[in-house]
């Protein structure tokens, strides 16, 4: 890849490197337009794309000075809110094939908090759509992002990596149907706001659930999540009262102690006139007292129980992860090949330009010498010279473009450039032209 003059780089923070608190401060909550405009003012970036979700903020860019690009991006996007010194230790940075690989992994949901959840792909597509619309992406990032979408699709269809993430939501819906018959007009309560809980809630909403109530430790987050589901937000303290009105409860807080005990739920059942309650506890450690399941008309499932519904065991998942890794490695190689071919384009253009220059100057000289003054004669001369030149160039160009050579593209480019002395010519003609290391 060294022949490609610019570097593809990716910097960002995600749920593995930064705390939720930091991620929340970094997230582009006001939409992409502002931050993208800020990026467009940076001269070190030739192409850029920005993704911001609750679990990651990432910028992929193309430029010739990665270090400068990184410093400028961090300053432009986060400077007033987060100091560089605070941010720096959490930022990861990938270049070239590692950046490509990372982007593929993110798209295929291998880098997600809940591996295999499909939401991230939609978020990426949306981020790309806006970046492309505002002119942020160019030839390389367009190709790279489109490729990452197709890689994600390939991983999804060829492996069962998504099955376990889907299984939680799926099992919740299937079980919900066995208990309630019909999920329309049922109300869902989310306690805490994990990715998996959101996913399950979304799935339930798709099944026609009437409304979603969100309870969270920080009310602010509850409110923002509730807005996404067009539901309402409550404080954790109001939990007991809410149990009267909801039917499905998905709990996923980070609390180390139980949030609801058997007695709490028993008290509620009388007020509910024994209408069934379906608890789903996907928190680790558990939020809900396992004894709740002993109550009549109350059903409690924890994460292991739900896995059991789908029966996808651990060994399966590990095998699928290996398979997904292989697909991604394969696709990274393919992308590198494309990038290399891209690299031969400047050489071809340069070669053509060189030939045209020679033709033009020789035609001028000859025309003056033989006294061909009419434009008709000049054109005939030029036509002939160009024909000879392009016939001469045919084989060198074919040599550059051909796929099945025993020599690497890099070497072939080097040979052609040496033979035609292109680097010297380029230095003389256009100092800023592409050079290769």
């Amino acid at each position: 890849m060294a022949v490609f003059p610019d570097t593809i780089a990716l910097i960002g923070v995600n749920h593995k490197t930064a705390s939720l608190d930091l991620r929340e401060r970094l997230a582009c909550t006001a939409g992409y337009e502002g931050p993208l405009a800020a990026l467009s003012r940076l001269e070190s970036l030739k192409e850029y794309y920005l993704l911001s979700t609750c679990n990651r903020v990432e910028i992929a860019f193309v430029g010739d000075d990665v270090r400068r690009g990184r410093t400028e991006i961090l300053a432009a996007l986060f400077a007033p809110r987060v100091k560089a010194a605070e941010l720096e230790p959490h930022v990861y940075q990938y270049e070239q094939s590692r950046a490509v690989e990372h982007l593929f992994q993110v798209a295929a949901s291998l880098d997600s908090m809940v591996v295999g959840e499909a939401q991230i792909l939609g978020q990426m597509k949306e981020a790309y759509r806006i970046a492309a619309k505002t002119g942020g992406t160019g030839l390389v990032l367009n190709k790279l992002l489109h490729k990452s979408f197709s890689v994600a699709k390939r991983v999804r269809t060829e492996t069962r990596i998504g099955a376990s993430a889907v299984s939680i939501s799926y099992a919740a819906v299937v079980l919900g149907r066995k208990i309630f018959g019909d999920l329309t007009n049922k109300r869902v309560l989310l306690i805490g706001a994990g990715e998996m809980a959101e996913l399950a809630a979304e799935h339930l909403l798709n099944q026609g659930v009437a409304s979603v109530v969100v309870a969270n430790r920080t009310l602010e987050r509850a409110v923002s999540l509730a807005r996404r589901f067009r539901g309402s937000a409550i404080a954790l303290a109001e939990l007991q009262g809410q149990l009267q009105h909801v039917d499905v409860i998905i709990s996923s807080t980070g609390a180390s102690e139980l949030i609801l005990r058997k007695e709490d739920v028993r008290r509620v059942m009388r007020g509910r006139r024994n209408r069934p309650l379906f608890f789903i506890d996907i928190a680790v450690p558990r939020d809900l007292d396992p004894a709740i399941n002993e109550l009549d008309n109350v059903y409690l499932y924890d994460i292991d129980d739900l896995q059991g519904v789908i029966e996808l065991n651990r060994a399966d998942r590990e095998r699928e992860a290996v398979k997904a890794g292989r697909i991604i490695a394969e696709e990274v190689l393919k992308f590198e090949r494309w990038l290399e071919n891209m690299a031969s384009t400047p050489t071809i253009i340069q070669l053509r330009n060189l030939m045209e220059d020679i033709v033009r100057s020789e035609v001028d000289k000859t025309a003056g010498r033989i006294g061909a003054t009419s434009t008709l004669q000049q054109e005939a001369l030029e036509k002939m010279a160009l024909a000879i030149a392009s016939k001469m160039l045919y084989h060198p160009l074919k040599y550059l473009k051909a796929e099945d050579h025993c020599l690497s593209l890099e070497e072939r480019i080097h040979t052609v450039r040496t033979v035609f002395d292109l680097d010297e010519a380029a230095d003389q003609a256009q100092p800023g032209g592409p050079s290769h290391a």
Binding site: K178, I179, F180, G181, D182, R273, P276, D296, Y299, G308
Partner: protein
């Protein structure tokens, strides 16, 4: 004639049950449609059997053991069809048709001769009182079947071991609706059956209530169902408790229906 018709409808019930059972295990929608068609056909023929027997015997055929069991099976079929016309309950047909088939076989083994009615029974009240009571028992039997299915399904969901029944049984809500429907139709029918019975008794025997064993046990049954309905509508008893009590009440009802005439003697005699 009615003998032959009965025979044919018995065979049709057998086929319907077989089809329902195949559907239960194979879960293919086409089979279910055929099973329902067979069941409706059998039920229609069974209805004709009863009408034909009415003309053959010259009295309402809810008198001998054969007739009452056959009529009980008919009313169960009637309740089932009335319910699945309004709600869909997956695989209820398998359970109900099995029960109907069992009842029909019992009826087939009972002596089928028509009898001459004692003067006491020759009354316009007979068809009203007997059919109302038996229809009520039909609804209670359906509630009991639903209760059994509820307990099976509830156990699966609580224990989280998803075996044979999980995917094949309907949702808990559907079964609870079934229970609700059966009780709210069956209970008024039983009450009407008791009222007509007591009016008839006043007319034939001179008093409304004579504490005949049958009457006593019917009262116990009635009180049980009254309690169940009361709990359902006021406290919101449902699900498991309702299912359990429906089954218990059904056992008492069946004892009232059959056991009483075996263990006690009374003027209801050995009709069943």
């Amino acid at each position: 004639m009615s003998f032959l018709l009965f025979q044919v409808s018995l065979i049709l019930y057998l086929l319907a049950t077989a089809a329902y059972l195949v559907f239960f295990f194979k879960e293919r929608a086409a089979i279910r449609k055929n099973a329902r068609l067979l069941f409706i056909l059998a039920f229609a023929l069974h209805s004709i059997t009863i009408i034909v027997r009415y003309f053959e015997a010259g009295y309402t055929p809810i008198t001998t053991r054969h007739e009452t069991i056959s009529f009980f099976a008919w009313s169960l079929g009637c309740c089932y069809l009335s319910f699945c016309w309004r709600y869909g309950v997956k695989n209820l047909g398998a359970f109900v048709s099995l029960l109907v088939l069992t009842l029909m076989s019992l009826a087939a083994f009972a002596p089928r001769a028509t009898v001459s009615l004692s003067p006491q029974l020759q009354s316009g009240w007979l068809p009203v009182h007997a059919s109302l009571s038996l229809l009520a028992y039909g609804f209670f039997a359906l509630a009991g079947v639903g209760g059994l299915m509820y307990l099976l399904q509830e156990r699966t969901i609580k224990r989280k071991r998803f075996g044979l029944f999980y995917s094949r049984l309907p949702s808990l809500e559907a079964l609870d609706t079934l229970n609700h429907h059966c009780l709210s139709v069956g209970f008024p029918l039983l009450t009407l059956g008791m009222i007509t019975g007591s009016l008839w008794a006043k007319q034939a025997l001179g008093s409304y209530w004579r504490w005949d064993p049958m009457e006593t046990w019917t009262l116990i049954t009635w009180l049980l169902y009254a309690a169940l309905i009361h709990q359902r509508f006021t406290v919101g008893w449902r699900g498991r408790q309702a299912a359990l009590l429906s089954i218990a009440a059904l056992v008492v009802a069946l004892f009232t229906f059959w056991g009483v005439s075996v263990f006690f003697t009374g003027y209801h005699g050995s009709f069943s």
